[in-house]
């Protein structure tokens, strides 16, 4: 029942791990399974990548609460880099994994004493607030962090998610605006920003949502969420439009989106009839 091919060679596994490291994918179960099954016996052939892989496996093992594998990796890394703060962070995360908050904080504060700009340790401290469910504290600490490190995209994304948890949509939208400033060609950012604006509701927000959904669809014509977003926002705007020419424009846009969605479903092999007929349904969740 493994989701990956168990007949992969060790080189293929090594390449997959490299891709997942670059794309920051969280595939912890698969990493641990593939490491134990295929890559570990050939670890000595990894060359320069060896410690990167060990770190990746260690983090994946902590995620799966496989302390045996995590400890084995940490010992190997620790022996090779005895004074490394990067290795020390793993020790702090191991404490977190077993629920030992005091020692985790102790290790992270030690790292910050040695190096005040150590971003990883600061982020881990914020993550610890989130892990105990104290999202309010995580939000305030993250805001403080972003005052010094305002180009950290990962942090803005995390802050956006935290605001969304609390239904603070205007603040979440602000986070997405920061991300759009730094990456205006990212279709996913446009789409997420549009979804937040749509959720806030109101004519202006709906217009903005429609514009950003359109931009997302332009940047990636296969983004089904963006196309649905165009359809939903155009329908909403058409319903409340007072000027007939504007209404016509929205209806045309809605029809365009509807056609492209049908095309995508046809390529996928899904029967589009059920999707289309329900598209003009009545349920709306935004405030009037």
């Amino acid at each position: 029942m493994a989701p990956y091919d168990v007949n992969l060679t060790w080189q293929e596994v090594r390449d997959i791990f490299r891709t997942w490291r670059e794309e920051k994918e969280r595939r912890s179960r698969e990493v641990v399974d593939m490491w134990l099954l295929t890559l570990k016996p050939m670890a000595h052939k990894l060359g320069d990548e060896r410690f990167l892989v060990l770190e990746q496996v260690c983090l994946a093992a902590l995620d799966c609460h496989n302390l045996e594998v995590a400890d084995a990796c940490m010992i190997t890394i620790g022996r090779a880099f005895p004074k490394s703060l990067r290795a020390h962070r793993l020790l702090a995360m191991r404490c977190e994994a077993v629920g030992d908050k005091e020692n985790a904080i102790f290790h992270l504060e030690y790292i910050l004493n040695e190096d005040k700009t150590n971003v990883a340790a600061r982020k881990r401290l914020i993550a610890m607030h989130k892990s105990v469910g104290n999202t309010t504290k995580a939000i305030s600490e993250l805001n403080e962090y972003l005052k010094s490190f305002m180009s950290d995209q990962e942090a803005w994304q995390e802050l956006c998610d935290l605001y969304l948890l609390h239904h603070e949509f205007s603040r979440a939208a602000f986070c997405m605006e920061e991300l759009l400033l730094s990456s205006p060609h990212n279709h996913l950012y446009h789409e997420r920003f549009a979804e937040i604006k749509y959720t806030q509701g109101g004519a202006d927000n709906m217009e903005l949502a429609k514009a950003h959904f359109c931009q997302a669809a332009k940047l990636n014509p296969n983004n089904l969420r963006a196309l649905f977003g165009v359809l939903q926002s155009a329908n909403n705007l058409a319903q409340s439009a007072k000027v007939p020419s504007k209404k016509k424009e929205y209806v045309k846009l809605s029809a365009w989106a509807s056609k492209h969605i049908q095309d995508l479903y046809q390529v996928a092999g899904e029967n589009p009839a059920s999707a289309i007929e329900s598209m003009f349904g009545q349920m709306q969740l935004t405030s009037p």
Binding site: V132, E195, F228, Y265, S278, M283, L285
Partner: protein, 220 residues
């Protein structure tokens, strides 16, 4: 408060959805037969897993509800509830319940709001970790914590759910987010339903798969 009873299919789908994304909050809707009454026991026949990212955003939720509404009426079902499993083990911040749950309640006042208690969820299922609320309090919010959900054929279902988790069947579950990423994936989970039925009908065969080989080797 009315009682809420889950069918084995609905239960397995909810649990598998939660286990598939242990690091994220997940949510979905619950379906009941169209003649479901407002009082008495609410039987949840099926569940549709929805999202594991940004649960509070409206546009995709509306698209999903429209498609599910259409699917439900074709199958003589109604949207009768909402479930959510939080990413947090301990939640010290009180958060507002998802708007979708109130919208569903507007359309069907007998609907339920089901939460999963993370501390009761385990790989070997021994008890039902789902709690349901069917009433709103004076301020219009769900009256929590709610009552433990009843389960049809409880011990067989719990055993089947444990087997499915062990076999990592949750990787086959498709939620609406998966469908939006890849439209060929079926959010009704028709194939998964067959796998779940098999686990329910043959609870011992799953264990015997390995032990049969053992017997053969011994005989040789």
């Amino acid at each position: 408060m009315t009682e809420v009873k889950f069918s084995p299919l609905a239960y397995c789908k909810v649990i598998l959805h939660a286990v598939k994304y242990p690091h994220a909050s997940v949510n979905g809707v619950l379906l009941a037969p169209e003649n479901a009454k407002r009082d008495g026991t609410l039987i949840i026949e099926d569940a549709v897993p929805l999202f594991h990212m940004a649960l509070t955003l409206a546009p995709m939720a509306e698209v999903a509800l429209q498609q599910i509404d259409s699917y439900a009426s074709k199958n003589k079902l109604i949207i009768a509830g909402y479930y959510e499993a939080s990413e947090f083990f301990d939640e010290s911040d009180v958060r507002k319940a998802n708007r979708m749950s109130y919208k569903i309640h507007e359309n069907f006042p007998g609907s339920c709001f089901v939460t999963l208690r993370n501390e009761l969820l385990s790989l070997e299922q021994r008890q039902v970790p789902l709690y349901a609320s069917t009433k709103l309090d004076d301020s219009g919010c769900w009256s929590l914590p709610g009552k433990k959900v009843k389960l049809e054929k409880e011990s067989v279902t719990l055993h089947a759910a444990s087997i499915l988790i062990n076999l990592q069947t949750y990787d086959e579950l498709v939620d609406f987010d998966n469908h939006l990423d890849c439209p060929s994936k079926d959010w009704t989970n028709a194939d998964l339903e067959l796998t779940i039925q098999e686990a329910l009908n043959n609870p011992d065969d799953e264990d015997e798969e390995d032990s049969d080989e053992g017997v053969e080797l011994a005989n040789n």
